[in-house]
Symmetry: C2
Subunit: 379 residues, 2 copies
């Protein structure tokens, strides 16, 4: 097996420090030792989410916390609004449909920015909308949606929640939950949090907890109120993913050592370096108007298949970048720059893409993309 390099938007590489911690002999979850770890993790998660509220932890992939943010907050007969501009916007719509919630959709062309006015108009036309579901960073297209503006619009409304899937956003760029008045903020373990997949998270504003009091949809495993009650005793409602929570304490400690501001700056710099290097190589961006700092989606030249570039960098260099999904398949490739992906790792990816482009007949001056990235990183 050749050496491998992960530049995918989840899972991202796991720091050796966390991997080895998780490989230590497992401990029981009903012990003062584990409870002390949970106590620390609760505090660390509040720091990460920039909130005073408790952050709920589920043993599941990110979709679990997304589902919980429907099944625990809405009631039958409620109406919801979904921003649908990619695969994960579609996921919100699918979950709402599964619970028979009447859903108004704001379609956004894949890779295009969201016009907040459309949300404002929809809320004016349907003041009964109980929740607006959106992504902070739409992983499938590399777009960033204007959460601050949406929160300014929805935060003051007593009867409407803003529910933000920040699975590929939290810990990458600023999303201060309390300051911006985001009602529900959801994330997962395998992105900026640098852990293997298997944990999902959600924090709720006081307004959202009021919705949870009234919600009447069926639920059992994903139960915010039950988890809150247990978490306050440093426990979980069901057997927690013990090793992942031990790893979580480790990665959150690493993040606290670096500091949120520095992480955000580093990610922004890496994202800019990626974008500018790709432009220098004559490629274009799939989401140029509002690119996410978590992942860059790159449009390949017309006539070229993105799959071939992805295959080339994988087979020749052992570097894993991601394909486009669904309608974007073959048209784009996606490079992640978050979590434990640091600047040198990114240079490896850019260099491999240069080589792939050259081999596939695209005119490239080798080293030019890497040079551009270095220039940005130097600043």
């Amino acid at each position: 097996m050749a050496k491998q390099y992960l530049l995918t938007p989840g899972p991202t590489p796991v720091p050796e420090r966390a991997a080895l911690k998780m490989a230590e002999p497992i401990i029981h979850h009903r012990t003062p030792e584990f409870e002390a770890i949970v106590a620390k993790v609760r505090e660390q998660l509040r720091w990460l989410f920039q909130t005073k509220e408790e952050v709920i932890i589920f043993a599941s992939s990110g979709t679990g916390a997304m589902e919980a943010s429907v099944s625990n907050l809405l009631s039958s007969g409620d109406k919801a609004l979904v921003i649908k501009g990619g695969k994960f916007g579609e996921r919100w719509a699918e979950i709402l449909k599964a619970y028979k919630i009447e859903t108004i959709e704001i379609p956004v062309e894949w890779g295009k920015a969201l016009d907040v006015k459309k949300v404002e108009e929809a809320l004016a036309a349907h003041p009964e909308i109980r929740a607006v579901y959106v992504q902070a960073s739409e992983t499938s297209t590399g777009i960033k949606y204007p959460i601050r503006e949406l929160a300014a619009l929805i935060g003051p409304r007593e009867n409407t929640l803003l529910v933000v899937d920040a699975i590929t956003a939290l810990g990458v760029f600023p999303l201060p939950m309390d300051e911006w008045k985001i009602d529900v903020l959801v994330t997962g373990s395998q992105k900026a949090l640098m852990l293997p997949p298997g944990l999902s998270f959600a924090a709720l504003s006081q307004k959202a907890w009021k919705f949870a009091e009234k919600s009447n949809l069926p639920r059992y495993y994903f139960n915010f109120k039950k988890e809150l009650k247990n978490l306050q005793k440093n426990q979980n409602a069901f057997t927690p993913a013990v090793t992942l929570i031990i790893g979580l304490h480790e990665v959150l400690s690493m993040m606290q050592e670096e500091g949120l501001e520095k992480i955000f700056e580093r990610n922004a710099r890496m994202a800019r370096a990626t974008r500018e290097s790709m432009l220098t190589l004559g490629l274009s961006l799939f989401a140029p108007d509002s690119p996410s700092d978590a992942v860059t989606a790159v449009l390949v030249p017309s006539g070229m298949d993105a799959g071939k570039i992805i295959k080339h960098v994988w087979e020749k260099q052992g570097i894993k970048i991601a394909d486009g999904q669904d309608q974007a398949k073959g048209k784009i490739f996606r490079i992640a720059h978050m979590g434990y992906i640091h600047e040198p790792d990114l240079l490896i990816g850019i260099a491999a893409i240069e080589m792939a482009l050259k081999d596939l007949g695209h005119p490239v001056e080798l080293g030019k993309g890497v040079g551009k990235a270095l220039e940005v990183m130097k600043k």
Copy 2:
């Protein structure tokens, strides 16, 4: 931190071999490499479940697969039957209630055996019952329920399913799914499977898949049909718990190296050794009539608090055994003998209990319990 020994019914100790495998650099789930692991794991799980059917894998604790076995199989208006003789029987009832399924309960005194006749009578009185929910091994009391007899009763019924929570049973004692005609068999990662918590599993008979076709309850993350479709392509519907699945391949390989029959024999021998040593020490069993080979629940002498024994073996020896739950709290302690708990580990536990009993004023001839266990193990 002193050395610790886990003799709890989940999590059980994780073999070093699996822990180190899971600590290797993480790989992406959309790679031929991971798909090859999933392909092997599918085959291995069929071997473990003794079935030709596909075994569905969720990233969740065991309760997730339990919930899925309600939300994917029943429809609104359906009636269900629950065997309720412990904390996990209560969990079935709670899940059914969450989905508003009308439920007939067969209460069984905690620690007492189930009379299959009562199930037969209930089915005769309510032929419309769509599913019978039961535990193979009720972890909270150490009782084993007669799954073979229940399957013989329910297997031939076209319109009723037998749904078995085997979270603390599968891989401990025989539950040949196809041979006995069990319709749904559920398990979790942190018991006989020797992994950290975070994976749950369910296999469905062809009859059960027909129920899944008709079921109309709301569900999203826990979706049997969606997972089946993905699994057939060696994929998962949502980002899988990559490292745990890599660990799963490792532990299932270990189990295959030993062989199911040998594992069952070893567990049965350890269970017998535990029971006989406890009786020798003058204690009694909480579930004497039909004890499970996974976990032994031991009644402490009247006037003694089980919590004190548990505290003693933990604080003096670093050995973690489990307390009774809910109504059994303080009355019993529970020792697990499954998974990566082997005979020498068990001797440590028995010795520590002897010391605790002596210190707490119970008349004990030190070494007598261990001696009895050795006698049983020698056979």
